[in-house]
């Protein structure tokens, strides 16, 4: 959860993405994810046990494998996420 400045674009292997994340949610990765911050960044990072993913994010962690998505885009299984 970056504070003030959204998390900018990055790349994982040959795959790059642009755009910004307000609250990025990442699955397990076995490859480096490179980010290109424009300056110092401050935020809070939470490590979540992947087995809690169905309850917390409405989908198994396997669906997040190697991906980063915006937290708000998780299925609304739990009502609306933090808003």
């Amino acid at each position: 959860m970056p504070i003030d400045i959204p998390l900018g674009g990055g790349s994982a292997g040959s795959r790059a993405w642009s755009g910004e994340f307000l609250i990025p949610l990442g699955g397990l990765h076995s490859r480096a994810v490179l980010l290109s911050p424009k300056g110092p960044q401050v935020g809070i990072q939470l490590a979540v046990n992947p087995l809690a993913s169905p309850r917390l994010f409405g989908m198994p962690a396997s669906e997040l494998l190697g991906q980063v998505i915006e937290f708000d885009q998780t299925p609304p299984a739990n009502g609306s996420p933090i808003a």
Partner: protein, 321 residues
């Protein structure tokens, strides 16, 4: 409050949690930092190895072997940022065949060798915390870190915070990288070299009251099996230092009262355990446990001083993140 509301809502849904066997397997694989053999994990949860891997893959995306490799990689990274020792020491402690095995795993997971990673990341992290720059790049050298670096608030196990929390404990500096469950951006910090150690008959209760009553801050808690519910825990004291504790072992680790609940011992970290062992042995003191490698990758030795206080000495530096 937002987070609490959200968690309350999550708790109330009828989402299907993974099977308990998977939580147990996760605890064994990650808790052992990938050192537990997959066949042992499978036997422990009562599944075939193939079934275990299929179930883990369905839930997390990775099978048992890959999770163990990631856990070992994470442990190596933690040891590097907490200045455990040379990369050869880290490779040995994490049970890699040798340093080139460690390098190969890093190339695959991180896209660079640990030496390259240290050269790129550690000076930046040191700068952010105002500490001295660590020696960069030289793989044979000890990896230094600034004293008093900030700690990060995330661990695999659930984290409870003491009243008020530790100032700075919620702050993460540097770039954020989504990856395998913990941050790549751990800021180097220095662990105490001497830790009071305690054991408890009801260590789960101790986890709560050491925080709520005494005011410790949880650093790590590793939960074990029924015979030892808290296998190992480290708590920080907000003003510096910390303690290690766990459930009383079912088979006495110590002889006599030393180390039993109601007593306290001390653990000393050093790279040179053999030298301490040599001094103690030549002084003619009673050896509790001879110098040996532990299953968590530390070389340890324990002894009684002349008045019967129990001490242990080892290369393990504490989890430190």
């Amino acid at each position: 409050m937002l987070v609490r509301d959200w968690l309350d809502r999550c708790a109330g849904t009828d989402a299907t949690d993974p099977k308990p066997e998977l939580f147990r397997a996760w605890e064994l694989i990650i808790g052992s930092r990938g050192r537990r053999r997959i066949s042992d994990v499978a036997a422990d949860v009562g599944w075939s190895r193939r079934h275990l891997t299929a179930q883990l893959r369905a839930a997390t995306g990775y099978g048992a072997k890959d999770l163990a490799r990631l856990a070992r990689f994470q442990q190596a990274r933690r040891m590097i940022v907490t200045a455990y020792g040379s990369l050869a020491d880290v490779a040995a402690a994490c049970r890699y065949a040798d340093q080139s095995h460690l390098n190969a795993e890093w190339r695959e997971f991180a896209g660079c060798t640990p030496g390259e990673w240290i050269a790129a990341e550690v000076p930046v992290l040191s700068q952010l915390t105002g500490g001295p720059a660590a020696p960069a790049g030289d793989r044979a050298e000890r990896v230094g870190g600034p004293a008093g670096g900030r700690r990060r608030g995330s661990v695999f196990c659930k984290t409870r915070r003491g009243p008020g929390g530790h100032p700075g404990s919620m702050t993460t500096s540097g770039t954020t990288t989504p990856e395998t469950g913990t941050s790549t951006t751990t800021v180097p910090r220095t662990n105490p070299g001497a830790w009071p150690t305690l054991s408890y008959r009801d260590a789960e209760a101790a986890v709560r009251y050491l925080i709520d009553v005494v005011g410790f801050v949880e650093s790590v808690v590793y939960r074990g099996g029924d015979d030892r519910p808290i296998a190992h825990a480290e708590f920080r004291w907000p003003d510096g230092g910390g303690i290690m504790f766990g459930s009383e072992p079912s088979e006495g680790r110590w002889s006599g009262a030393a180390g039993a609940p109601g007593t306290s011992s001390a653990y000393l970290s050093t790279d040179d355990v053999a030298e301490v062992a040599r001094r103690v042995t030549s002084a003619g003191w009673r050896v509790l446990r001879p110098l040996a490698e532990t299953d968590y990758g530390s070389r340890e030795f324990a002894f009684f001083d002349p008045e019967g206080n129990a001490w242990s000495v080892g290369t393990y530096r504490g989890e430190g993140s």
